[in-house]
Subunit: 340 residues, 4 copies
């Protein structure tokens, strides 16, 4: 932490800052410029910068940014590659996850899986516990939903990803699911993150609607700090003033995360835009920007979907999109294992 | 839901929209204007508007806003008054909660409670389980913290409020705490909300950092829909582009909520601004704007606080503030029970 | 500017940063901590921090915040008091401006002025040139509007404020108007600001919809740097994700600006909320928070207003509000000259 | 406009709404649903929805979105193609503009132009009048800058684009420049837009930092409504809470604008990200998302640039990027004329 004194701050004020730093058990380094005296507080990550902002003579306090370590590329320069059922995320690979928003019935999942599997998709998605803004809306099939998607996935040699919402659901998910997804609303549910840090399956963390990239990486740090090194970051749009789309997909998070962290970052263009006709352009943009994977909602009959049908692709649209993605990926030195 | 057709949409397109509404089991009402044909879908709250946005000839879909019922002033026109230990929120009363951010030790809580109690404060706050952005920061004393704050509160005839973070912590909180607080990050933790809807103690719901007022009221609807009618809404700032303050305190939420809902709305100026010298102005502004209560952080030695000391008032500052608030309240026809 | 090196940055990388600073004609101060080496670039306000972010070994660059001088309280500790027609803004005074959104006709302005003047209002507002989002909406009466409001104001011994939109309109405004208002959309129209810096009448600068407080103060710096020291800052709401109100009124800007600058800050609760029934609560909140003035839209027949009628008070509502404000002001040690 | 009555609104309240509509000279269409009565106000685009929100019994008012006509794809279904010096924007073409942020000297522009021209770039950019947040920063060379860039462009058979800031600068720009650029801060400078609507050269409108897509299209409508049909829209990032990048580039604006309007949309990844190493990924993403053009900052010696050097590409980086873009464009059925 660096405390910048006002132009004209006097010796007493400077000394008071130094004393305050020392009272908190840290060392102070003073550096006098022609305009401002700057006082560095060494090893001060746990100190609240605002404690100094209120002191007399202080102009402002600059915080050296955050304390994530294990997720940082400084700590681990090479890409973390996550391999689930042969589908790779990171290290030059663009992995794919596809499937319906919600598990509605065995027939529906079967219809989706059959198509997706024939296109080479190796991981299917599908919600079983659905958090909904209204208490009166469809809330998912629960464990029955997990059983259905597992059964169908096994039939087609697919892996499964689904959203876990509660600590006490974790054992259930470990039984049925291959990637445990943490929803945007739970990104800072730190108790849940701590529990997932002890799990030996990959965890996918969606970015919160109003989370900075730094907070998102810090959420991943919770998982890594408990021992689980397999984390996939998933950008799904942030909340801004713009209402033409459901959320604003922040694609620049791809190069930003790639520089700061070794963890793979994937994009969910379905939730990120909320409208089917925006999914293909944003998927292509994501691959061109260097993402490590995509999670796309596909439904065999989107018009009848119980949830988010409007953002789900028809299987044929998905297939067309895959063909285009396979052409874009090599331009940015990426590989896609999908065999469309 | 109202589907507005484009100027020039043809009969076939209009019929297709009507058919789609009927396929979903709803009735359609058609109204032809000189510019636009508008088709109303009756009883369509569970239908996703985007299913229609993608149809040919549709200009846009307007959603009649949300489906909260029990929290609405239409449903219950008179104010809900929540009385905890003789301190009232709503119905013309401005209730008060004060205390440290976090329970640090018995001595600290005792020192705070003694002062606050002497000023007439009847409800003390203090966190025991602290969600922190970094996994390496102080995480609270846990159950030990709850025991301490209960013991001290009993000594001074005070009630207690503290934040519950997990479903499995609820029994513990029911034992020690009088108002169960749901943090901003948990505002849409719907499983937690559902469990709290069965509790027979008041629940305080903090507004999420990026939650609209409508989503916030919907979170309250979760609690009421399960049978618990005692909900206090707590505004604590939203996330915007401005960085001069930690959050942007949205004080206009006071008249907005007062019009839409019968539930009391209180303000947390400590988290809402993040800086001690902004707490008094924002507290006075809140009462002048018609709030039903305040929750203010007070610490006997803020400079030594383990957490958020910079936003905690000194006890004397708090006392001065109370004296001013007691003068502002009657101007807006409000009563404060505090006996400063 | 402070350049923080990564933990583990080597000597060569550090030297490269130092050399780059020197190449730009600045001095470098190196300070080695146990985690990070920090390099201060002295006198570096005109250097772009991003030039260093891209260098090897650099963790981040912290900018000492901005270069406003004349608007700063450091430069001038005592309040700037602006006196227009005997109405004061700043220095313990809460000044008042009221009137219709737009000048519609002599009869309308006359009806407003008569009422407002009888309440003791000394400054009337009214737009003559109206910037409108749509090219097809009413665009104001132009010079004719200025003549009308001047004529009526003279009759009632009132001063006039109105929005100037263009450099070439300035001579016209100097002829008819006492306070020249810069609209939110023009807050960073730097050419206009430069011209207004040479004018010998007060300028009111509205905060831009997405302007930080720092940028707003910098806009004021443009005016002061040209010689015009009479600037009033006017908060009128910022754009956020919330749609329950037209804008989010950032009342905490009052204590923030009061701390950083000697210039008076006033609030426009009419544009800040966009709805009549929110104007009174937000006006009272503003005075309680310590503002130096208010600008409120009042219309004798708001239901027939050509523009923004829904946010205009009826004259009687305005009178009631003034009576309440006169009771709140002394609680926060403020005076209001209005003689309701 | 559609006025939705509350569940349980009575006949008197409904009649009052109808009367209010009629008083404003519009027709009312009533449609009674089982939950809500909905009243359509025909031809009500100039009516302020808030006039109805305040009436008794009204639940909410839904506005049929905006009144742009000439920019709409309904009005003109086929793409507008803008051809400047043989470089095309729209209609399947991805046009290119490149050059330094600011004109610094003849040598600098010459060095850039030589390189860019050798890569096949046909339009050079360069600012002459620079709006800067601080009054103390470099403000551009003015007319001298325009002369320099024109002279150099002529030598290399290039066209010129530069930002016009003031109505009174227009004659100057018509003399030296081929595309007149309106900056983000001037997007709602409606007087400037009106003047540019009479100009017979293409105008490029940058999206304002906090402008919705609808407001942006409305700004374009100003130009078209005066007779100038050659408008290029330029996305350059919006302001959000995220600070890892200077702005948040909203790439989903590409398919959104493409659906709503026939005008070409181009991306400025340099200002949109603010950092050189993000420019290539975002450029590739833009083309993959279907943009009609790119404007990229290139400087022969970015480290010495007077302005925004950190976001400028080295000429060689630009060349590499062009080679990649030429491979991505055909995947999305686009052509690039550049001959790298």
């Amino acid at each position: 932490m660096l405390i910048v004194m006002r132009h004209g701050a006097n010796e007493e004020q400077i000394q008071n800052v130094i004393d305050t730093i020392k009272k908190k058990g840290r060392d102070a380094h003073v550096s006098k410029g022609d305009m401002h005296t700057v006082i560095g507080a060494v090893g001060a990550n746990q100190i609240d910068p605002r404690d100094f902002e209120l002191l007399d003579g202080v102009k402002e306090v600059l915080k050296i940014s955050s304390s994530y370590k294990l997720v940082s590329r400084i700590f681990k320069p090479e890409d973390t590659v996550i391999d689930v059922n042969g589908e790779k995320f990171g290290g030059g690979y663009v992995g794919l996850i596809a499937g319906p928003c919600t598990v509605e019935s065995e027939e529906q999942v079967e219809a989706c899986a059959k198509k997706l599997s024939s296109y080479g998709v190796k991981i299917i998605r599908g919600g079983a516990f659905k958090p909904r803004t209204s208490p009166y809306a469809f809330q998912g099939l629960g464990e029955e939903g997990l059983k259905i998607i597992r059964r169908v996935a096994d039939k087609y040699n697919m892996a499964v990803t689904s959203e876990v919402m509660e600590i006490n659901q974790i054992p259930l998910f470990l039984k049925y699911v291959d990637i445990l997804q943490v929803g945007a609303r739970n990104m800072q549910n730190f108790n849940l993150l701590k529990e997932l840090s002890h799990v030996n399956k990959p965890v996918m963390i969606k970015r919160g609607l109003s989370a900075t990239i730094e907070e998102w990486l810090m959420a991943a740090e919770y998982i890594l700090s408990g021992g689980n090194r397999e984390v996939i970051l998933c950008e799904r749009g942030i909340r801004t003033f713009e209402r033409a789309t459901r959320n604003t997909l922040d694609l620049c998070s791809i190069p930003v995360v790639n520089k700061l962290s070794h963890l793979p970052i994937i994009i969910d263009p379905s939730h990120g835009t909320g409208l089917r006709d925006k999914v293909a352009p944003m998927s292509m943009a994501s691959v061109a920007a260097g993402c490590d994977g995509l999670m796309i909602e596909v439904h065999d009959t989107p018009d009848c979907a119980l949830c988010d049908g409007a953002q789900s692709l028809y299987p044929e649209q998905f297939k067309d999109l895959m063909e285009k993605l396979k052409k874009i990926a090599p331009v940015v030195d990426k590989k896609m294992s999908i065999a469309v």
